[in-house]
C-alpha cells in the first residue's frame, strides 16, 4: 500500500499535458465495467464476499507490472477528505468514494490508468488522456483487460456481453466521455441548443461544477449512453465525430465574439483578470466563472507563457478537499472564501496582464 502524502504531491500526468485540442477538450476518458462470475455484485454482496473479491483482484494485479509499479489504496486507510481528493482528480467516482473499507483503487505511476474495486461493479477500469484522445484511452486499457481476463473469471454472456450490476452498462460495459470547456457558446446563449443536439444523438451531457450558461466553469461531460448493440470502436467513432463538431462550434463562437463583440470579450477577460488579482474573498462559484473566462483568454492568446492546463491545475487546487488538505484543517465557509481568494490572487498575479493587441477594435464613430 502507498502513502497518501506521496500520492497528493504529484499531479496525474494527463492534467499537466497540452494537446492540440486542449483549448476545448480537457480530457478524454474511457471506463469499463467488469465483474467476476457467479459472485454477488458489490451492492448486493456481504462484507466477506466483497473482501474475497478484493483479495482476488489484488492477487491478479500483483502479477501485472504497470499496476505493481504504481500506487494502491484500500479505503480503510483513507478518510473522507482524502477519498474526496481522488474524486476531484477524477481517479475514482463519487459513488466509489462513498463505499466502505472493502473498496480500493489501483493506479499506474502516471495515473493514466486507474482500477476501482468494489464500486457499483467489482471492477471499473478507467483510462484518461489529455485532449481529444478517446482511441488512445481505449487502447490503453487493452493490455489490462487481457491480463484480467486471463487471471479472473470475468462475467460474460455471448449475447449480452459483459454483465454489469446495472443493465444500462451491459454489453461493452464502456462509458467513453470527454470533458469540454464551452464558455463562448455560453456567452452567446447557444449552449443549450448545442447540448440538446448531443442529447438527440443519444449522448449524455452533464455539467461539471457548471450551472447552465454564463455562470460557473462552463465545463461539461459528454458521454455515450448505449453500451449494447454497438462495438467499442463504433461508439468512439460516433463520439469523435460529434466532439470534433462541437470543438468547431466553440472555436467559431470564440472567433465570432472576437470579431463581432470585441469590447464585450475584452471587458470580460480584463475584469476577470483584475478581480482575480485583487480579491480577498471569493466564493467557489465566482472562482469557477472567473477562471473559466481566463482560460478562454489563454486559449485566445491574450496571456503569454500560460497554458490552459495551468488554469485547470489552479481550479483543481480550489476544490474543497484540495483546499482542506493544503491547509491541514477543516475550514468554515468564510475561511474557504479567504483561502480561495488568496490562492487565486497569488497565482494570477504571477501572470502578466492580458495583451489584447491581436484584437482590432472597431471605431465607435
Amino acid at each position: 500500500m502507498s502513502t497518501f502524502t506521496e500520492f497528493y504531491k504529484n499531479y496525474p500526468e494527463w492534467m499537466t499535458l497540452q494537446e492540440s485540442d486542449s483549448d476545448v477538450v480537457l480530457t478524454s476518458r474511457v471506463r469499463l465495467a467488469r465483474n467476476i462470475e457467479n459472485t454477488p455484485f458489490p451492492g448486493w454482496a456481504k462484507k466477506e464476499v466483497q473482501l474475497f473479491v478484493l483479495k482476488q483482484v489484488k492477487e491478479a494485479l500483483n502479477l501485472y507490472q504497470p499496476i505493481k509499479e504504481g500506487q494502491s489504496f484500500c479505503f480503510d486507510q483513507l478518510d473522507t477528505i482524502e477519498k474526496q481528493v481522488f474524486v476531484e482528480r477524477h481517479l475514482i467516482s463519487r459513488e466509489h468514494a462513498a463505499k466502505g473499507a472493502n473498496a480500493a483503487v489501483f493506479l499506474t505511476p502516471n495515473c493514466d490508468l486507474s482500477l476501482m474495486v468494489n464500486e457499483e461493479d467489482h471492477l471499473r477500469l478507467q483510462s484518461i488522456q489529455p485532449g481529444l484522445n478517446l482511441d488512445k484511452a481505449l487502447d490503453n486499457l487493452t493490455a489490462t483487460q487481457d491480463h484480467l481476463e486471463e487471471a479472473l473469471s470475468i462475467a460474460y454472456h455471448e449475447k449480452l456481453g459483459y454483465l454489469t450490476a446495472c443493465p444500462t452498462n451491459l454489453g461493452t460495459g464502456m462509458r467513453a466521455s470527454a470533458m469540454v470547456h464551452l464558455p463562448a457558446l455560453g456567452i452567446l446563449n447557444e449552449l443549450n441548443q448545442s447540448l440538446n443536439a448531443m442529447n438527440q444523438l443519444g449522448l449524455a451531457v452533464r455539467g461539471l461544477y457548471g450551472e447552465g450558461t454564463e455562470s460557473f466553469a462552463d465545463l461539461y461531460q459528454i458521454s455515450n449512453q448505449s453500451t449494447l448493440g454497438e462495438g467499442e470502436q463504433t461508439i468512439i467513432e460516433n463520439l469523435n465525430r460529434v466532439l470534433k463538431d462541437l470543438i468547431k462550434q466553440e472555436r467559431q463562437a470564440r472567433l465570432r465574439l472576437l470579431e463581432n463583440d470585441p469590447y464585450k470579450l475584452q471587458d470580460k477577460v480584463n475584469r476577470a483578470y483584475h478581480i482575480c488579482c485583487s480579491a480577498y474573498l471569493m466564493t467557489s462559484n465566482e472562482a469557477l466563472s472567473l477562471l473559466s473566462i481566463l482560460k478562454m483568454g489563454v486559449s485566445l492568446g491574450f496571456f503569454n507563457e500560460v497554458e490552459t492546463s495551468d488554469i485547470d491545475l489552479l481550479l483543481l487546487n480550489l476544490q474543497p478537499a484540495h483546499l482542506q488538505i493544503a491547509l491541514g484543517s477543516k475550514l468554515s465557509v468564510d475561511e474557504r472564501d479567504i483561502i480561495r481568494a488568496t490562492k487565486v490572487r497569488e497565482r494570477i498575479q504571477r501572470i502578466a496582464k492580458p495583451d489584447f493587441s491581436i484584437i482590432k477594435l472597431p471605431s465607435l464613430n
Binding site: 449475447k159 449480452l160 450490476a165 448531443m198 452533464r206 450551472e211 449494447l228 448493440g229 462559484n285 465557509v333
Partner: protein
C-alpha cells in the same frame, strides 16, 4: 450558494439535459452522494421495468413464450444470489451475473429501450475466444486426420489423434 436539499454550502453542481429540459441542481457533498447513489445512470427504473412489474404485481399471470410455463414471476429468485425483482425495484441494480439468465425474459424486451441494440457487438472475452480457437483447432486437426487415414499415413494419424485429445482436454479445462 446553498444546497437544494439542506442548508449547507453547495459544492457540487449538476446540469442534466434530457430531451428539451435542462435540469440544474446545486448540492452539498453529502446530498450529492445520496443523489448519485439514488440516480441510476439513466434511464430510471420506472422506464425499464416499471410497467412489467406493475402488471406482475397486480397478480396477473404472464405468458412469456411457448416453452415457458405460466408462472408468477414476482416470486422468481436468482439461484446464485437469492435476488428477486422486488430487490431490483429497491436497488436499481441486479444481484449477480446469474441474475441475467434468471430474469432474461423480462429484461431482453426492454433492452432496446435503453440501448442501440439487443446483442453484444464489442470485445469478446478471452476465455470465450480461447474456447472458439480450440473448437477451430480441433476441427482443423480432424480434417487433417481424415486426410491422413485416406492416405494410409498411420504414423501421422496417430500423432494427430494425440493432438486432438490434448486440444479437447484444454478446451474442457476452460469451460
Amino acid at each position: 450558494m446553498n444546497c437544494d436539499k439542506c442548508q449547507q454550502e453547495a459544492s457540487v453542481f449538476f446540469t442534466e439535459v434530457s430531451g428539451d429540459k435542462v435540469n440544474k441542481k446545486s448540492l452539498c457533498e453529502s446530498c450529492a452522494q445520496e443523489y448519485q447513489n439514488n440516480t441510476p445512470n439513466l434511464p430510471p427504473f420506472d422506464q425499464l421495468f416499471g410497467e412489467v412489474l406493475e402488471e406482475l404485481e397486480s397478480n396477473e399471470a404472464f405468458e412469456y413464450s411457448e416453452e415457458e410455463a405460466v408462472v408468477s414471476e414476482t416470486s422468481v429468485v436468482c439461484p446464485e444470489c437469492d435476488f428477486t425483482l422486488q430487490d431490483y425495484k429497491a436497488t436499481g441494480r441486479f444481484g449477480c451475473s446469474t441474475c441475467y439468465p434468471t430474469f432474461k425474459h423480462i429484461l431482453l424486451p426492454k433492452l432496446t429501450e435503453i440501448h442501440k441494440g439487443s446483442s453484444h457487438e464489442g470485445r469478446v472475452n478471452h476465455r470465450v475466444l480461447d474456447r472458439v480457437n480450440h473448437a477451430e483447432i480441433i476441427e482443423e486437426l480432424t480434417r487433417e486426420l481424415e486426410r491422413a487415414i485416406e492416405a494410409e499415413d498411420y504414423e501421422r494419424a496417430g500423432e494427430l489423434r494425440d493432438q486432438i485429445k490434448e486440444a479437447s482436454k484444454q478446451a474442457s479445462e476452460q469451460q
